[in-house]
């Protein structure tokens, strides 16, 4: 007697919000391409069960000043491109970036302490050089973030940038800037479902529509807390599909930054030989971190190494084909 197995499908009634980064001239910006993420009505890549209208996007991290503490593997890969944000941006787009994540580290009080006006100039220059949407981060010091991001928001009015990070203690000024000049924000909370929901509520209470809020659940790298991130993302995504409106934001993960902080990616000598080849190790750990988080619901991966960018592009294509 042949057995008939009915495929087990869940009936979800929720949907992840669709969010578009970047605006073309017709939409009031200057971008030649935009990125839309979200819209899923099922868990990651379960095409048999629901729709996944958009591919997860790859944002490539670049900085306004040459990075100081980056692994030699990364510095060698980007070579001279990393010495100038415009050439870096162009190279990243050539390598397949859907968007750029611009970190304005130079504005940090302990780095060059660049002014907000200078930072805005840098962003303008990058916008002039490439056509992809930008995600822009301040120095991650509350007061300076406000100053820098407001200046950037104004200088790039209408571009639908994503401004990050909004955190529970520091979101008002940034949200106000996004509201006034037609941008999006990144809402970041420390690996906690309730805190994520709460911040989304606070931001939407200020009048920013939720289709302009990306959610960063905080990334722990492979070997350094990834299991916490993985599970909180699964919980957020399940809640979203079950219809909890305040968890329905697409998720952005800072994979590169976290993964390249770790010893495995940074240290060449004096480590066990079984850790393997140094030049390959860093990208591979970054790829595995990215893959794990795609499985738990990442909609935007922020990556660092050119090899990771290429491999994750191919991987996403494979995951999307069925």
């Amino acid at each position: 007697m042949p057995v008939t197995v009915e495929l087990p499908k869940e009936k979800w009634n929720g949907k992840v919000r669709e969010i578009t980064l970047g605006a073309t001239p017709a939409q009031g910006g200057t971008r030649t391409s935009t990125v839309t993420v979200g819209g899923e009505t099922t868990l990651p890549f379960l095409h048999f069960e629901g729709s996944i209208p958009y591919r997860p996007a790859i944002a490539v991290e670049i900085q306004d000043v040459p990075p100081q503490d980056w692994s030699t593997t990364l510095l060698e890969a980007w070579d001279t491109a990393a010495s100038d944000p415009v050439s870096w941006a162009k190279k990243a787009v050539e390598l397949g970036a859907d968007a750029l994540a611009v970190k304005l580290r130079g504005t940090h009080p302990e780095r060059q302490s660049r002014s907000a006006a200078e930072a805005a100039e840098t962003v303008k220059a990058i916008l002039g050089a490439v056509g992809v949407p930008l995600i822009v981060y301040g120095p991650e010091v509350a007061e300076k973030d406000n100053e820098v991001l407001v200046a950037v928001a104004e200088a790039a009015a209408g571009e639908r940038l994503a401004l990050g990070n909004c955190e529970d203690k520091n979101y008002r000024t940034i949200v106000a800037g996004a509201l006034a000049h037609g941008h999006l924000v990144v809402a970041k909370t420390p690996i906690d479902v309730n805190l994520a929901k709460q911040l989304n509520i606070l931001i939407s209470d200020m009048g920013l529509p939720l289709d302009r809020v990306l959610m960063d659940p905080t990334t722990g790298a492979l070997g350094y807390g990834i299991e916490y991130t993985y599970s909180v993302m699964e919980r957020l995504r399940l809640a979203a599909l079950m219809g909890d409106s305040m968890t329905q934001q697409p998720m952005i993960c800072t994979v590169g930054e976290e993964s390249w902080r770790q010893k495995e990616s940074k240290v060449k000598d004096g480590v066990p030989s079984l850790w393997g080849d140094f030049a390959e190790r860093g990208p591979l750990w970054e790829m595995a971190t990215a893959m794990a988080l795609l499985q738990s619901g990442a909609d935007i991966l922020v990556l660092r190494h050119p090899k990771t960018i290429k491999t994750m592009r191919e991987t996403i294509s494979k995951l999307m084909s069925s």
Binding site: P44, G223, K263, E264, P272, S273, L274, G276, S321
Partner: protein, 451 residues
């Protein structure tokens, strides 16, 4: 699925003979449903009732053992789809494939490397779990020779992969007592493979690259033929299809209670022609999403370490972080003038710091504060690693008597605490160490010396 007392009662003789020590069959059934008594206490249950009760109390995904002794792979018995719902219990076995068509020298080398591969993380030794020998040549003699060679090089469990029943039989004659996994029964050959699995009392993998209904039919045939220990290979090989089929199998077992497909899953990650990146990415997906055994097409240490780390991460119990005991730890033979550092009792934090302090070669004292298993910044943000806690930990470790100096190194990430700690520990000088543990050796050798 557990049966209720009433369900069990229906299966009992209902004679109320009291031989079980209970006044009625119903009373016995009630106690049995609470697991307060063994079924064997009733001498009169029919074989049929026994079978029904056993099936009902068995786990939805059967526990399968491959190999023998301390290296054996034990998989199955999972109870949730998402680790936050409870935990994932049995780490998937990571097995490396060798082909009998390779040069014997290459096979021997790969097997030895797999056998001796061990990395230490968070105080645990992470290792690979077995070797899959594939009969690519199709030749029985060659297969047996290679199985023999592999057995000489390792005591790790084996997966024997051959489509030739005669070759499989010959290999099992030498490897059968080691309880390898027999791979694989198909709709064409299942009778012969079921016979082999029974003859050598080994677990049997079944595979059908059609759909899950066909896999279910195959499972039914093999189970009827008397094989109880199965492993399923749905035959999907790419990222999207594997994710779909493995998710469906896990759901069928747990949510639909489908016994026919309630077995661990074996999946192949990469063959001769896939790149290290492709293998690593597919294996990462398989570890996260429901594989019980992952057969890696190639061995490369660079690609093994992240998989072992990821498996360790995903299979930790989400309810309780791994912790070490608070207290005083010594590295080398520290004396009165040796440096004193403090950190938290989250295992990951402790082992990261301990590794560097040890590696520095500078004899040192390390106080571990009880942060309830939280990392430095998490504990600081949660109020479990504040100035008071730091001071108390240093005092209760008896450092006042053990040291000739009064200098304490705190983690760089909690630099803001230094003033408060100085207030809590009058007479002490608080030194702010580097942020990342990697920089501790150079710090101890230069900055600390000068302080």
């Amino acid at each position: 699925m557990a049966l209720s007392g009433l369900d069990i009662y229906k299966l009992l003789p209902k004679t109320n003979c009291k031989e079980c020590g209970f006044p009625t069959c119903l009373a016995f059934a009630m106690k049995l449903s609470q697991k307060g008594v063994e079924l064997s206490a009733c001498p009169y249950v029919s074989d049929e009732a026994k079978a029904a009760l056993e099936a009902a109390s068995s786990p939805p995904i059967r526990l399968i053992t491959i190999g023998t002794g301390e290296n054996k792979i034990v998989v199955g018995n999972e109870v949730v789809l998402f680790r936050h719902e409870k935990t994932f219990y049995h780490e998937p076995g990571l097995v490396v494939r060798v082909a009998d068509s390779w040069e014997p020298g290459k096979i021997a080398e790969v097997v030895s490397q797999v056998d001796s591969y061990v990395v230490e993380r968070v105080g645990m030794k992470l290792t690979l779990n077995g070797i899959a020998v594939e009969n690519v040549s199709g030749d029985a003699t060659k297969f047996v020779q290679v199985v023999q060679l592999v057995k000489q090089k390792t005591a790790l469990p084996l997966v024997l992969m051959s489509a030739n029943a005669a070759a499989m039989d010959a290999a099992l004659q030498i490897a059968g007592p080691d309880k390898p996994l027999v791979y694989a029964a198909t709709p064409e050959n299942w009778q012969a493979y079921a016979d082999l699995a029974k003859k050598y009392a080994c677990s049997l993998a079944i595979t059908d690259s059609g759909d899950l209904s066909r896999l279910g039919s195959l499972a039914e045939s093999v189970i009827k033929a008397g094989v109880a220990d199965l492993v399923l290979d749905p035959g999907t090989r790419n990222l999207a299809d594997s994710l779909a089929s493995l998710t469906q199998l896990r759901r069928l077992a747990l949510k639909k209670n489908l016994r026919l497909l309630g077995f661990p899953i074996l999946a192949l990650a990469g063959g001769d022609d896939s790149t290290l990146e492709e293998q690593t990415i597919l294996a990462t997906e398989l570890i996260a999403k429901y594989a019980g055994i992952v057969v890696l097409g190639r061995f490369d240490p660079t690609g093994i370490y992240p998989l072992l780390a990821f498996r360790q991460n995903i299979y930790t119990d989400p309810q309780k972080p791994i912790q070490v005991s608070p207290g005083l730890y010594k590295f080398g033979e520290p004396g009165e003038q040796s440096p004193l550092l403090i950190t938290t009792n989250f295992s990951l934090t402790y082992f990261t710091v301990a590794g560097e302090v040890e590696g520095s070669g500078v004899p040192s004292w390390l106080v571990i504060a009880d942060s309830e298993g939280m990392s430095v910044l998490t504990a600081w943000a949660a109020g479990k690693f504040d100035a008071e806690k730091i001071a108390k930990s240093v005092k209760s470790a008896g450092m006042d008597d053990k040291l000739g100096h009064r200098k304490l190194v705190i983690p760089g990430y909690v630099a803001t605490l230094s003033g408060e700690v100085e207030e809590e520990l009058p007479g002490w000088q608080i030194l702010v160490g580097p942020r990342e543990a990697v920089d501790i050796p150079s710090y101890l050798k230069t900055v600390w010396k000068a302080a």
